[in-house]
Point group: C2
Chain length 402, copies 2
């Protein structure tokens, strides 16, 4: 059993050495394979986490779509990922056999780590082992709030502190930031002369604002983005007319391998979002390449970026344009260091491991009745299995000595 305590992991995880190998079920959404063939943030993170946990000596079983290719033992929850089979409209029901497979065999695990949002909650309450759920989505949708409130006894992990805001009454036990394999993207010491926009075309990502920032700055913009069916009209009517300028190049969707060149050669990544971004994986992809990020202060942005250190955070168009003019002040080396210190898969896995140890030793079955009573008696957060919040990673302020 190999348990590496990487010195680059920090905070709480660094203070607690892995004490024993755990039997861990990782429960992924079935919409995309793990990792996904194209777009799919959650499934990518599950792949990185599962593989890193195996490297750390744990026994991981990945419950995921049958076409998953992550290098861990797979329990296929469906023959193929649902998006490919055109059955995603039946989503929740098609997850049921996988959920049963996990929970009928719960005694084979020390901990179940769910990434399927609320779908695992009803069974988690009845299981003989604890389930920790990472919520990957934005939570400010009023339809779902009443659903989640029913499960305020179950431990949940946020991917940013800001993500918790609309549902503060849940039993939040930790924030664990996403991480990428250290060598997935390499440091590019020299940048090219363009600004980059990467992701998907949609109004809340504000590609129109990115184009305006580039135009006013007089610096070329390259856009690598997918266009969903639901956003095709927005693209045609709003964005396409703005692409006529020779300074804007639209290169469509790119794959993982193409990101190195695209992000690494950029002067900066533009991330002018106008929605409560739960995490924003592309920001740490840029940092991994040494590329600074210019972003609006929405959602997770102030937690992921250090203003003036790994890029600039600004709300208005004027301030965003001013940020581009100052981008030479940012050290690309420092951006890469921030990635290595806070956003690698090792750091993420060490932090999750610490959460697992917290829960794996609880007598979950005995705690169950008490949990359920607490949940039904009160709308307040249950304190039965909750720990005080802790954010083990070095915060932006501390990292900068401020």
């Amino acid at each position: 059993m190999k348990l590496v305590q990487d010195e680059k992991t920090s905070g709480a995880a660094a203070f607690r050495a892995p004490t024993r190998s755990l039997r861990i079920a990782q429960l992924a959404p079935l919409y995309e394979s793990v990792p996904p063939k194209l777009y799919g943030g959650t499934e990518r993170i599950v792949a990185y986490l599962a593989e890193e946990l195996v490297r750390r000596g744990h026994e991981v079983t990945l419950y995921a779509a049958g076409d998953s290719t992550a290098s861990v033992p797979l329990a296929a929850g469906s023959p193929q990922s649902l998006r490919l089979t055109g059955l995603d409209h039946l989503g929740p029901i098609l997850h049921m056999p996988m959920l049963s497979d996990v929970y009928d065999n719960a005694s084979h695990f020390d901990i179940i780590h769910s990434h399927v949002e609320c779908l695992s909650f009803p069974l988690a309450r009845h299981a003989c082992v604890p389930t920790v759920s990472t919520l990957h989505s934005r939570l400010d949708t009023s339809e779902l709030l009443p659903i989640y409130r029913n499960y305020s006894d179950l431990p949940v992990v946020s991917i940013s502190k800001n993500q918790r805001r609309p549902m503060h009454e849940l039993n939040w036990v930790r924030t664990v930031y996403h991480g990428l394999p250290r060598d997935l993207l390499k440091f590019s010491p020299q940048s090219g002369g363009y600004l980059a926009l990467l992701g998907r075309i949609s109004p809340e990502k504000r590609p129109d604002l990115a184009i305006e920032i580039a135009r006013r700055s007089g610096i070329p913009l390259k856009i690598a983005a997918k266009i969903d069916r639901t956003n095709q009209e927005y693209f045609e009517s709003v964005i396409k007319p703005l692409l006529s300028s020779s300074e804007v190049e639209f290169i469509g969707e790119i794959n993982e391998a193409e990101k190195q060149q695209f992000l690494g050669a950029a002067l900066a990544l533009l991330f002018p979002v106008d929605w409560p971004e739960p995490f924003g994986l592309v920001m740490i992809e840029a940092l991994a390449c040494g590329t600074p990020v210019i972003a609006r202060p929405c959602g997770s942005v102030p937690e992921v970026l250090c203003d003036g250190v790994t890029g600039f955070i600004a709300a208005s168009l004027d301030d965003l344009v001013a940020a581009v003019s100052k981008i030479g002040d940012i050290s690309r080396q420092r951006c890469r260091e921030e990635f290595e210190n806070r956003f690698t898969a090792e750091v993420m896995a060490a932090n999750y491991e610490s959460v697992y140890y917290d829960f794996a030793d609880i007598d979950w079955r005995c705690a169950g009745q008490l949990r359920r009573s607490a949940a039904s008696l009160s709308t307040q957060r249950s304190s039965v299995v909750a720990r005080p919040d802790s954010y083990p990673l070095v915060s932006c302020d501390r990292a900068n000595g401020r």
Copy 2:
């Protein structure tokens, strides 16, 4: 405790007197209120069943939409029925709090009777008391087959024998036909001079065929039907052009109170369906009024109707037209008797009660591991808790002395 053994109940239920009051959870879909304000077969049946079980001395808790008005204690699974709130696209997820409410409190019941199709299956396996599920839908959809196959250990009730055909490997424990309160619709000894079509406009209900039957017979047709959004185009392009004849009257959707007059005054109900009808509630509504039914031999039709006794079963247009010409041979009194003998809420409740007694005395928790093993080891039907099929109601042939 009032336990009535109604002499009109028949078959197995008649041979076994209710021995004790049971604590029964009735778990209804949240799409419509119980009973529904307009269309909604499942929710109507749950209302009739729950109210009849209370009359028989049982302690019933109805888990259903908060705007339900059935005369039994209600545990609201949602503030309102989902169809009214426009949230039905989130259906399965919005059922989760109700499912948790039932199964977190399972020890308060002797039996859980689920009408939410497969949604209760994962939790049913982990409960300390048995769940019997009535499947209300057609089951010949290839997408769902692999889902249901995973739960072949759990006891299910069909609403017709024919309904089982696409999923014979499930653990079918009984067929229980739907029933209506005895006095909901009254016997009409005299009919008027028109044919009736009642339900919803859709290609598989073959309203076009009904119009052709009436035209060739030279008898007026009245159509009382709702038109779903999904079938609006079919109505406009196929059915509306056929309504020009003065012999066809389209009167739109009617409510429960209007059915008495509409069905009671009809010469016959036309039911020329072209799909595997799981039950066909409108057939027994007609019989309750003494109105015979002319139907195509699809799905449940040969089980519900007695050819030549309560109407005629015919496949081709010629034979359906011939059936109309012979309709005077059918005794309206005999149609009402068939309803009273086989399709009242009393008969239905007595049959479900018999199923409940079969399961309520099983040590469900101990049987659980064995059930799950059987389910995972074999695709064959588990025999651990299954009884041989039995169809306790007097069959069509026996009723006719043939």
